[in-house]
């Protein structure tokens, strides 16, 4: 393992982004901020000019924003589920990365939810989903599932923050405005055994609950497509297919975030290459599962040579979408598998490359899931096509920039490492959460 560090050192590392903002921080924030501002401008332009300015037309009625929506909400999912699964299985190496994973979940979810608005023709009417919903609509249930999941993600991020805030309030520089906030948000935390029992119980409930919630989010998202009955989307495998895709790209993003913050915030003492390798193993398992699901989906739909679905299959595998599809299959599917499987590439650089390929590749995969089925002629005539315009590209790039921007902003105020958890797992476990016995999960101390 890595060298043991003292509690003081740990606290200082976790708070370094809060207490001292170097020039590096602003050097990264500034371009990110500019990209986000450009995206907001482009969105304003799009609202003014109409969705046509983003490159849409009646045949390509769903395309880039819908792919972005699935992609960003998908990566959100990875963060929370990784954190929840690692917590439930009491995996010892989780401690330094759970905070990062949970924050990734929250902020990519927020950005993903923005795309639910960006893709609408009349975003200002979104409240009608509250005031006059139609219960049979998958879009309504998307809205319900995503907002529920958002609240759950915030709670899931907040609960483990409570002890950290209590512990770190005293370490903040004197006169910091954050002290009052830390004290208020830490809810009088004194690390009493009774408090710990209460918090651990709540954490266990949330960790269990967030998994089906996340599954519901991506299932309903898949059903927004699958329930339309459109050839290419009309597939019974779509819900689990989307769930696995979300996990797969989500773990990849967690790897990128962990590697990025490890480098940027000098967390090497707490996050080692072994953390990335553990995550990479998780990623390749999901990679293999996703490749298998893709095969099962295409075979199941295409083998029967059904007239309605053959044109879509043809366009996807051999037609105009074939380059994108095969670039994904090789670059986003097989290559990451190899990079992690081969010992000499199973290093930080190899894993980060693989994760980057997965995140980018899965975006491309979402495009070839969304676009061909939308652009197909339903009666007769030619295929529709989507034209990427500066509006849709600026908004997409800005959204991608918004995630690191929001995360860096968040860690400017809150500790980047879950200090209490790290310390707890480094020492003897003191308290055993009640839920563990109840769920028959491995007890603390079982591992290592």
């Amino acid at each position: 393992m890595r060298k043991r560090t003292s509690r003081t050192e740990l606290d200082e590392t976790a708070l370094r982004p809060v207490t001292s903002s170097g020039r590096g921080f602003w050097l990264v924030m500034l371009p990110l901020g500019l990209l986000v501002l450009a995206a907001l401008f482009a969105w304003g332009w799009q609202i003014w000019q109409g969705l046509g300015s983003a490159g849409y037309n009646d045949q390509a009625f769903w395309s880039i924003y819908e792919s972005n929506l699935v992609t960003f909400i998908g990566v959100a999912y990875g963060g929370a589920v990784v954190s929840a699964i690692l917590r439930l299985t009491r995996t010892a190496w989780r401690a330094p990365i759970t905070r990062l994973a949970e924050a990734t979940a929250l902020f990519s979810l927020l950005v993903g939810m923005m795309f639910a608005l960006v893709h609408l023709g009349r975003p200002e009417r979104i409240w009608e989903l509250v005031t006059r919903p139609r219960l049979s609509s998958p879009i309504f249930w998307d809205f319900v599932a995503v907002t529920t999941y958002l609240v759950a993600t915030v709670i899931f991020l907040y609960l483990p923050l409570i002890p950290d805030l209590a512990a770190l309030a005293g370490r903040l520089p004197a006169g910091s405005r954050l002290v009052a906030w830390y004290r208020r948000l830490s809810l009088d935390w004194r690390a009493l055994p009774a408090q710990r029992r209460l918090l651990d119980g709540a954490m266990a409930v949330m960790a269990v609950a967030i998994i089906p919630m996340a599954v519901s989010v991506h299932s309903v998202l898949a059903w927004a497509f699958a329930l339309s009955g459109r050839p290419g989307w009309d597939s019974s495998i779509f819900a689990p297919y989307f769930v696995v895709a979300a996990l797969y790209s989500g773990v990849a993003l967690v790897i990128l975030v962990v590697a990025g913050f490890r480098q940027g915030y000098r967390l090497h003492a707490y996050i080692g290459e072994d953390h990335l390798i553990h995550l990479a193993y998780l990623m390749v398992v999901l990679d293999a599962t996703y490749l298998y699901f893709t095969f099962a989906d295409l075979l199941g739909e295409g083998f029967s040579m059904n007239n309605s679905v053959v044109p879509v299959m043809g366009q996807l595998l051999t037609g105009q979408y074939a380059p994108s599809f095969w670039i994904w299959a090789v670059g986003g599917g097989l290559l990451p598998l190899l990079l992690v499987a081969l010992p000499w590439t199973r290093r930080t650089w190899g894993i980060v490359t693989a994760a980057a390929l997965v995140v980018a590749g899965m975006w491309l995969k979402r495009i070839v899931i969304v676009l061909p089925a939308a652009a197909q002629p339903m009666i007769a005539g030619g295929w529709g096509s989507f034209h990427f315009t500066w509006v849709s590209i600026t908004i997409t790039v800005g959204a991608a920039a918004a995630i690191p921007l929001l995360m860096m902003g968040f860690f400017r105020m809150f500790p980047v490492l879950s200090v209490t958890e790290i310390e707890e797992l480094a020492e003897e476990p003191v308290v055993r959460p009640r839920a563990h016995a109840a769920f028959g999960l491995p007890q603390e101390g079982d591992e290592e």
């Binding site: 000019q49 109409g50 969705l51 046509g52 300015s53 849409y56 037309n57 009646d58 045949q59 009625f61 769903w62 893709h119 609408l120 023709g121 009349r122 975003p123 009417r125 979104i126 009608e128 989903l129 006059r132 919903p133 139609r134 219960l135 049979s136 609509s137 998958p138 879009i139 309504f140 809205f143 927004a224 497509f225 329930l227 339309s228 009955g229 459109r230 989307w233 007239n307 939308a374 002629p377 339903m378 009666i379 007769a380 005539g381």
Partner: protein, 290 residues
């Protein structure tokens, strides 16, 4: 609060217990409130849906305040509008499309009735005009999240463009690609006799979905849809399934059921279970499948 805190559990006035009680009450209160809200929401939603379905179609008569022949309308069973398109007569001139676009002030790319060039099993081309099928089981309606798409009791599927959020789920769900999105600001239109309504959505609204409305407001005025009167080939009949009447607007008014039966009329993509209100009369070797 020194003594009370320690003796809390046995203290008669319960000062020490109060946090526990409060928390329990709060939890109970929260769940009761949540459940109540849920039940209220449910009943509201279902109620709302019924209202929409039961609401009489906003008619032009109602809007202009002109007296409506209520006696005959009430005595009669409601209309169930339908359309019959005789593909043997259609020559693909697309004058129905032009008439429609002129009537509704639509841009060129919004072909609420679109004429497709089809190939029959013998390799010959023929033409198929496609209006909105006004399905009895509209897939577009089921997926509409805000209830902007609704079906009138006369069987016309309409979009309330003052409600539509522009999510385009209906465009995905429509197997007849009959729905069109207003991607840009619609061009200005001359002053209309009535304000835009679902039954007469002119002018169109940016960022919402529009489609063929069977000229719903026309039907109530005893007028025919623009495509029917605009067809020089008398290929399009407009009909009322309840009264069993169909007319091509230019001389031929017949018993609808007889017209359908005598000519072996079919509905497009019947296998999807959408139960369209548009019937096609096919020529030799034409089968409407691709």
């Amino acid at each position: 609060m020194s003594q009370d805190g320690g003796n809390g559990p046995t203290s008669p006035d319960g000062a020490g217990r109060s946090p526990t009680i409060r928390r329990r009450d709060l939890l109970r209160g929260a769940s009761v409130l949540g459940a109540a809200l849920g039940v209220f929401g449910l009943s509201e939603m279902v109620h709302f849906r019924d209202e929409v379905l039961a609401a009489p179609m906003p008619t032009a008569e109602a809007a202009t305040g002109a007296p409506v022949a209520m006696s005959s309308a009430a005595a009669k069973a409601t209309h169930q509008w339908a359309m019959v398109i005789d593909l043997r007569r259609c020559d693909g001139c697309a004058q129905c499309t032009t008439a429609c676009q002129k009537e509704h002030f639509l841009p060129k790319e919004q072909t609420w009735i679109k004429v497709y060039k089809m190939t029959d099993s013998a390799g010959q081309t023929y033409h198929m005009p496609r209006p909105c099928m006004q399905c009895e089981e509209p897939p577009c309606l089921r997926v509409c999240p805000a209830g902007a798409t609704f079906r009138t009791d006369e069987g016309i599927v309409l979009v309330d463009q003052s409600v539509c959020i522009g999510c385009r789920a209906c465009m995905a769900a429509c197997p007849y690609e009959a729905r069109y999105f207003n991607w840009e600001k619609p061009a200005a239109v001359p002053r209309q006799p009535t304000p835009p309504s679902p039954a007469w959505p002119t002018p169109q609204v940016q960022g919402t979905v529009g489609k063929c409305v069977f000229c719903a407001a026309h039907a109530d005025l005893g007028m025919l849809p623009a495509c029917v009167t605009g067809c020089p080939m008398q290929a399009i009949y407009f009909g009322d399934l309840t009264a069993d009447v169909a007319t091509d607007g230019q001389g031929s008014t017949v018993v609808l059921s007889q017209l359908l039966r005598d000519n072996d009329a079919v509905r497009y993509k019947e296998e999807l279970g959408t139960r369209p209100r548009v019937y096609y009369i096919l020529g030799h070797a034409q089968d409407l499948s691709y």
